[in-house]
């Protein structure tokens, strides 16, 4: 009996680590969706870029975890802003379908462009976090797990504070509420959207570095699956709602580790998509969403 209990706790720890990565990625999706109503398919690939910058910083430049994390976040946020300016801005008034197809195009470009630059081979992350293992009553905590969860939580708190109390955060909320009214109030909508992309991409890059450390290997197509799953997490929590993305990420991470634990790890990806479809059919606005009426 005690063994089963320990197993459950162990799976919760694993699920929490994975879930905090998903939550960080989901935040980027949800912020971008909240402000310009676009599913940024390329977000998953920004995670990959972030992971590569992190790999370069730790392996080639020999930086430690935190400087590498900050470097990855800074560079990826610049890339995120560039993508928005070049690819998405001209399409701001285009149809949804055109914007979505552009996002798919950007995603393919980043994936295969980086294959050309860094070669399709996998890279191995060096152990940048201490390998210490804590055994608390039979449940194993790796130091890496703890640092990852703490990093994710700190970033999320920071984000929450930014959105709630700073000037740019207020501008972001105003633009996502009503773009035209925000413009009339003197808010620079273009800069606010850029800032949203920058913050979302930076969080994605952080997730990428953590993902690289967690799974040890990275490759140019690594961003696709976590990207899609984080999107599911964002929908689960209610897309466009920041706390929803955090909760959705954690719930998805826990579900996945439980599915693996009961011996269906091959079906893990399918389960995530089944959750997505179930949410979309039962409550498309997500756990935290409010129902809106259709208006002409």
């Amino acid at each position: 009996m005690e063994g089963t209990f320990q197993d459950i706790i162990q799976q919760l720890v694993n699920g929490l680590s994975l879930g905090s990565i998903y939550a960080l990625i989901a935040l980027g999706y949800t912020m971008v969706y909240g402000i310009i109503k676009l599913i940024n398919f390329a977000h998953g690939d920004l995670i990959m870029i972030g992971a590569y910058i992190g790999w370069f910083a730790t392996t080639v430049l020999g930086l430690t975890f935190f400087p590498a994390l900050i470097l990855a976040m800074a560079l990826t946020s610049i890339l995120g802003m560039l993508i928005e300016r070049i690819a998405y801005k001209p399409l701001r008034n285009a149809t949804r379908i055109a914007a979505l197809i552009t996002a798919i195009g950007v995603s393919l470009f980043l994936e295969y462009g980086s294959m050309l630059v860094v070669s399709p081979n996998i890279r191995v992350y060096s152990a940048v976090l201490p390998e210490t293992i804590y055994n608390v009553g039979g449940v194993i905590f790796k130091a890496a797990d703890v640092i990852m969860i703490v990093t994710a939580v700190v970033l999320m708190v920071l984000l929450h504070w930014t959105v709630k109390y700073t000037k740019i955060g207020k501008a972001m909320r105003a633009v996502s509420h009503d773009k035209d009214a925000a413009r009339l109030m003197g808010i620079n909508v273009d800069n606010t959207i850029s800032a949203t992309f920058a913050i979302g991409s930076a969080l994605g890059a952080a997730a990428g570095v953590l993902y690289g450390i967690y799974f040890k290997t990275i490759n140019p197509l690594m961003g696709i699956i976590p990207g899609l799953k984080a999107f599911i997490a964002a929908v689960l929590g209610g897309i466009g709602i920041i706390p929803g993305a955090m909760v959705g990420g954690i719930v998805l991470g826990l579900t996945e580790s439980l599915v693996s634990a009961i011996g269906f790890s091959n079906w893990r990806d399918a389960v995530a998509f089944i959750i997505l479809i179930a949410v979309l059919i039962i409550k498309p606005t997500g756990l935290f969403g409010k129902n809106t009426r259709e208006k002409v």
């Binding site: 690819a87 379908i97 798919i104 393919l108 997505l276 979309l280 059919i281 259709e294």
Partner: protein
């Protein structure tokens, strides 16, 4: 009303001429195997692109799971030919029908969703289909399934022609017009008494049927089918063809499929470059010509006829 007019006669002659020329070249061994493969693949992609265009271009529902339906058609038809020694026609029909049934089952709940949500739900469904085949040992799991080749150029070409004709006639029929009205303005269509969900499901089911048929042709031509072939990148590939040719244009879908298959074949040894070029093409196209090269126009002889008509009108004045 005449059922056979000059235009249909001309189209029929053109279709048989294309078929005859290629068949002749194959009969005299003038085409290398690589070219024949590319030609058959072109037919398969035309079927996929035209059927996806029915869903995305004509009915306006962004679906990203076309490869999933292709996979259902491919695996079911392969099971019929390989496990039950069934005839090819039966296999192709079974595959297409299975895909259509899946289309109905999947379509009814998901087509209530709009835009982005539908895209993601269908993408998810395509992935679920892939994972199911991946974990089914009966069809070889990740190692794939080997299928003997029973499709040749004749089969592929005429199945492609049938697909294009059926979808073209559907678009011109009353339900087809209803589908287009759903694309133009769903709320207005509903107000005019069109059951938009019904027509979305009809279009989705027809699209799935022909995707399944294309999958069957693919499976019985390519010797092996692997679950990884039918990932969402395949769905994106088909979408690129549709978007390139023209959303809401049958001839656009055909042209898009031909261009992309030739480009892929030409860049076969540089797969990364192929994808980078595709991606850049897609972005540029969306920024400057969001409805594709042809838009919703059709490439036909009528273009010349109309011009002549206008000239006549001017002459009269």
């Amino acid at each position: 009303m005449k059922t056979i007019n000059k235009k249909t006669l001309f189209s029929a002659v053109a279709i048989f001429a294309v078929y005859g020329i290629v068949q002749g070249l194959i009969a005299f061994n003038a085409l290398s195997l690589f070219y024949v493969l590319t030609l058959v693949q072109t037919c398969i992609y035309i079927m996929l692109a035209v059927s996806l265009n029915l869903i995305v271009g004509f009915t306006g529902q962004l679906a990203l799971g076309h490869a999933g339906f292709m996979a259902i058609g491919a695996y079911i038809s392969a099971i019929v030919t390989m496990k039950f020694d069934g005839p090819l026609v039966l296999a192709l029909l079974a595959g297409a029908l299975a895909a259509a049934v899946a289309g109905v089952i999947i379509g009814i709940p998901t087509l209530r969703l709009k835009g982005d949500y539908l895209a993601i739900a269908t993408l998810g469904l395509g992935e679920i289909v892939r994972v199911i085949w991946l974990n089914t040992d009966y069809v070889g799991g990740a190692a794939g399934m080997s299928v003997s080749r029973s499709i040749n150029w004749t089969w592929a070409f005429f199945l492609m022609v049938i697909t294009v004709l059926v979808i073209r006639n559907f678009i011109r029929s009353s339900p087809g017009r209803a589908c287009i009205s759903v694309r133009e303005d769903e709320i207005a269509a509903e107000a005019m008494g069109i059951n938009s969900t019904k027509y979305k499901v009809i279009a989705f089911t027809m699209g799935s049927f022909f995707a399944g048929l294309a999958g069957g042709v693919y499976a019985n031509y390519m010797y092996t089918i692997l679950p990884t072939t039918f990932g969402f990148l395949k769905s994106f590939d088909i979408l690129v063809m549709v978007v390139l040719g023209g959303l809401g244009s049958i001839s656009g879908g055909v042209i898009g499929a031909i261009i992309m298959t030739i480009v892929s074949a030409a860049l076969a040894s540089f797969p990364e470059w192929r994808m980078v070029i595709t991606a850049v093409l897609l972005i540029i196209l969306m920024i400057f010509r969001p409805n594709g090269l042809l838009g919703n126009k059709e490439l036909s002889l009528r273009v010349f006829q109309k011009k002549r008509g206008e000239n006549n009108g001017l002459a009269k004045n």
